[in-house]
């Protein structure tokens, strides 16, 4: 089937098998390997990307379902050589160790902060229940989210 979609602002057209998973389209056809596969069952969240502005798990979406959509992957998050505040938070607060869950985790955090810009610790922990991390025990991830929330708040205050 012919599909056409935009990834990180660049248009991609391809003739794909109907069963091709979106994550394989992104990783193997487009060559953006920052989106990872950790379970293939939507539990771990390593494959999280933005589809039309909302976080989704690309391991359980078919590429053909993404026809006509706009996708943002981890590679599209930094702008003009500047890390996104969530990326910055993970670096500042040691929110990652092996890095494998990190890219999906960062995308999920972006989705969380979009819905709830100033979450409490409990809201952060519940908000990330679709993403597993085996290295950090989550505490530094929570700290990273709080760092990002504060940074985004300061940025939007300046913009106002």
């Amino acid at each position: 089937m012919n599909i056409s979609l935009s990834i990180n602002g660049i248009k991609h057209e391809a003739d794909v098998e109907p069963r091709l998973l979106l994550v394989h389209f992104i990783r193997d056809l487009v060559g953006l390997t920052g989106t990872h596969i950790g379970c293939e069952t939507s539990i771990c969240g390593a494959c999280t990307v933005f589809l039309d502005g909302k976080p989704v798990k690309s391991c359980t979406i078919l590429a053909v379902q993404a026809d006509g959509t706009e996708i943002t992957t981890i590679e599209g998050l930094a702008k003009n050589g500047q890390f996104h505040p969530v990326q910055e938070g993970f670096w500042e607060c040691h929110g990652l160790q092996c890095g494998f869950c990190t890219t999906g985790m960062i995308m999920a955090v972006c989705g969380l902060l979009q819905e709830n810009p100033q979450p409490t610790e409990e809201q952060i922990r519940h908000g990330l229940e679709g993403n597993l991390c085996r290295c950090t025990g989550y505490q530094h991830i929570v700290d990273s989210v709080q760092y990002a929330a504060n940074k985004l708040k300061t940025q939007s205050a300046k913009a106002d």
């Binding site: 990652l96 092996c98 890219t103 993403n131």
Partner: protein, 772 residues
């Protein structure tokens, strides 16, 4: 050894992170080679069955399929999956990379399909027809040792793989003198390591050069190179193993599996790169599991709480075959049975048995969590029996700081420790006295509050070569390039520990250079000199020390040339902040100037070898023994059995901390895994040997809201085992935490007279204990 403290001891942000937070790191599956073929593996659906026939014709005809291989194809051509551990009279069954004649665990590789893409490879796997005759299955390890049990490896006539005895001291006398003997049967559930990145292999054979590149998600690239070269019969120096970015290991990648040699062999047949990426389902079934011991501990004790002797009779579930270190794991349990206490007589008898399950091997802690859990659990049982406060019982049996190095009845010498200090700090943080009062008040209101303490010690920096199967040293090369940039080659193979940063901190401070001018290279056997790898909390203590010693050699060499350059005596030269300063001339040259001069070699002393590089292989004289106190406070929900963690306090002592930010990360992650063991996780096989926890949907890896905020602090007792004074911290959290939580939960059930409940402490079990 002299350092600046510009970086060492500071919370330095990781240099690894910019690539990882942008998704620009390269894990095995991110490495794309032209013309790569994809491998999918057919695995056994039976725990124990005879293979009558395999029909691969349909698969071979399927679109895109280039080849299909079975056990017959590899027999005599690919060596057996290796076991490096040695024990007296150890039975080591032959472990083929593809099953030959029979299968003995669910998930065992039976056939491999090679196709032009991974979808086609998986399609064709479904077209392979295997005729099996199911056989009797052995899943219960205690039954496995009994004479009437079906035998898995007929050649041995028994399922007993080994019997290992450990310990010294007059146990009989200890038990005779005892006022009380406290016994407890304990089960250590089988656990799955669950690195978020599953295993994966990419093999590329060059028929002209007869050389091979093998990328594998591994913790031990050099050990793998040696083993895979032997399995494939190719010279070791023609095999290059690369551990690229590795997405977690926790011991599961401290191994050599069937797939590495299998992929290498397939690449040799087809002269194309071949890739296999493990699915999560395969990972649950065919990547090693951990723990899986069941046994009884008996402790002889005086009425005043003095420990006299300890006996542990245990069955260790080996699984179907030995993997690389399987039989060595319970020996670590035996070594650590004294815990943080003076126990004059100790004895362990461990029977390792084969069962129709995946092999067990090293999972974070590897044998030590078993020892710590049993000793810390039995301490609480003793306190309960003697009606003593569990803290006072522990304190009474601590060796004092002056008694170090402290010799145990298990034959170890603990390097250094001040157990009281860590305990007191933790008690102070939680306000233990007040907590116990709060607990009384809570109980009066009918609330189930519990306090659990664990005063653990662990064995790290593994380890002196004499105590490890394949060398326990580590290597480092430090090179100052002509431009003054510093390159470090380490045999350590980090996979999340952040050692590109912490190793650079050591070198930058020793050489007085900027952190960003130091590049740490690891994981590529064609670049890095032979090394051992990352496991057993050895990275900083052994690998970091090797780097520091190589750096010292570099400084010594540079000093010689600096003296020549400024016309001063070598002895009078000081080296500070990256500058060599003469005396009394006060002339100075920078390290960069010396490096350039050493490479240009126009003006060097006659006995000076050009270049500025040094290598050091560091052999530690002992293990290290980090320790600490973990205290957990819980409240149980009477209606549901749910456990709510109110506080979690960890005071750890890992000696000197190179980077406290990374230490905290290791402690947090360790606690999370130990806590998961206590409350959530268990690999479950049914009586037919079917794996019921075959996905992350069924195996309970904790999520963020299921874990508490950890309150961490530390004490710092240096060690003289290495010149950095570091002990290691990779496993402390896992080892210390499980009993703290278990003890808290059992303590909360005090009003019900509960003495013990086996892990994991799931709500159902707790509810039953309350409603029995």
């Amino acid at each position: 050894m002299s350092f600046l403290a510009k970086y060492i001891g500071q919370k330095v942000k990781r240099t690894e992170d910019p690539r990882l937070i942008q998704g620009l790191g390269h894990y095995v599956d991110d490495i794309k080679l032209a013309d790569t073929l994809h491998v999918a593996i057919l695995r056994s659906p039976y725990a124990h069955a005879k293979i009558n026939s395999i029909n691969v014709e349909g698969a071979k005809q399927a679109p895109g399929v280039m080849a299909v291989y079975t056990g017959n194809d590899v027999e005599g051509k690919v060596g057996y999956v290796p076991c490096a551990a040695a024990l007296p009279e150890l039975k080591v069954p032959k472990y083929p990379v593809l099953a030959q004649g029979k299968v003995i665990f669910v998930g065992q590789p039976v056939a491999a399909v090679v196709a032009t893409d991974k979808y086609k490879a998986r399609d064709a796997v479904d077209l392979i027809e295997v005729d099996y005759d199911p056989l009797d299955v052995v899943t219960d390890p205690e039954r496995a040792a009994k004479p009437d049990c079906p035998v898995i490896h007929e050649e041995f006539g028994t399922n007993v793989a080994f019997v290992h005895s450990a310990g010294t001291g007059d146990l009989e006398a200890a038990f005779k003198q005892a006022d009380k003997i406290v016994s407890q049967r304990l089960n250590h559930p089988r656990l799955a390591p669950i690195a978020l990145e599953t295993r994966g292999v990419l093999a590329q054979y060059f028929p002209g050069e007869q050389q091979m590149n093998l990328w594998s998600s591994t913790q031990i690239p050099h050990l793998m190179r040696t083993q895979v070269a032997i399995m494939l019969g190719i010279p070791e120096n023609k095999l290059r193993v690369v551990a690229p970015e590795v997405g977690g290991g926790f011991g599961s990648k401290l191994n050599v599996y069937a797939e590495e040699a299998l992929l290498g062999w397939i690449s040799m047949q087809l002269h194309k790169p071949v890739k296999w990426i493990e699915t999560r389902r395969e990972n649950m079934a065919a990547t090693i599991h951990g723990r899986a011991q069941v046994g009884t501990v008996d402790v002889a004790v005086k009425n005043d709480g003095t420990l006299l002797g300890l006996k542990y009779n245990v069955t260790a579930d080996v699984g179907a075959y030995h993997q690389l270190l399987t039989p060595a794991i319970p020996t670590l349990t035996g070594l650590m049975l004294s815990g943080a206490y003076k126990i004059p007589a100790i004895s362990m008898t461990c029977t390792g048995v084969f069962t129709n399950k995946m092999s067990t091997d090293a999972y974070r802690g590897a044998g030590r969590p078993e020892a710590t859990y049993l000793i810390e659990r039995i301490m609480d049982r003793i306190a309960q029996e003697l009606k003593m406060d569990p803290v006072e019982l522990r304190r009474k049996n601590f060796p004092q700081p002056s008694e170090f190095p402290f010799g145990t009845a298990t034959g170890l010498f603990y390097d250094s420790g001040d157990y009281d200090k860590a305990l007191n700090k933790a008690l102070e943080i939680v306000d233990y006295k007040k907590l116990r009062e709060e607990q009384k008040a809570a109980r009066a209101q009918g609330r189930l509050m519990g306090i659990g303490v664990s005063t653990y010690v662990e064995i790290c920096a593994i380890g002196p070569s004499a105590a490890t199967p394949a060398g326990g040293w580590e290597s480092a090369t430090v090179r100052v390039e002509p431009t003054g940039k510093v390159t470090v080659l380490t045999g350590i193979s980090p996979h999340g520990q952040g050692e590109e940063t912490s190793f650079a901190q050591i070198v930058a401070d020793m050489l007085g250079v900027d952190l960003n001018d130091v590049l740490v290279i690891h994981g590529d056997t064609s670049i890095v000199q032979y090394g051992i790898g990352t496991f057993g909390s050895r990275g900083i203590a052994i690998g970091g020390t090797a780097i520091a010693m190589a750096t010292e050699k570099v400084v010594a060499k540079a000093r010689k040339l600096a003296a020549h350059m400024i016309g001063a005596d070598e002895e009078g030269i000081t080296f500070e902040n990256g500058k060599f300063v003469g005396s009394p001339t006060d002339k100075a040259v920078t390290l960069q100037e010396v490096a350039l001069s050493a490479h240009v070699a126009h003006n060097i002393p006659t006995d000076f070898e050009p270049g500025l590089v040094a290598t050091h292989f560091f052999e530690p004289k002992n293990f290290t023994f980090p320790f600490g106190t973990h205290i957990c406070v819980v409240e149980l929900d009477k209606d549901t059995g749910d456990v709510k963690i109110l506080r979690y306090v960890a005071v750890d002592d890992c000696g000197k901390q190179i980077n406290p930010l990374l230490v905290a990360g290791q402690v947090h992650g360790g606690i999370a895994q130990g806590l998961a063991q206590a409350l959530y996780e268990e690999v479950v096989y049914d009586e037919n040997g079917q794996l019921l926890t075959g996905e992350l949907m069924d195996y309970a890896v904790p999520k963020a809201h299921q874990l508490p905020r950890y309150e961490c602090d530390h004490t710092e007792t240096p060690t003289d085992v290495n010149p950095l004074g570091v002990k290691g911290v990779g496993e402390a959290g896992t080892i210390g935490s499980t009993p703290a939580i278990a003890n808290a939960v059992i303590d909360a059930l005090g009003p019900f007279g509960v003495q013990h409940i086996d892990l994991p402490l799931r709500p159902e079990k707790l509810w039953r204990a309350m409603n029995n």
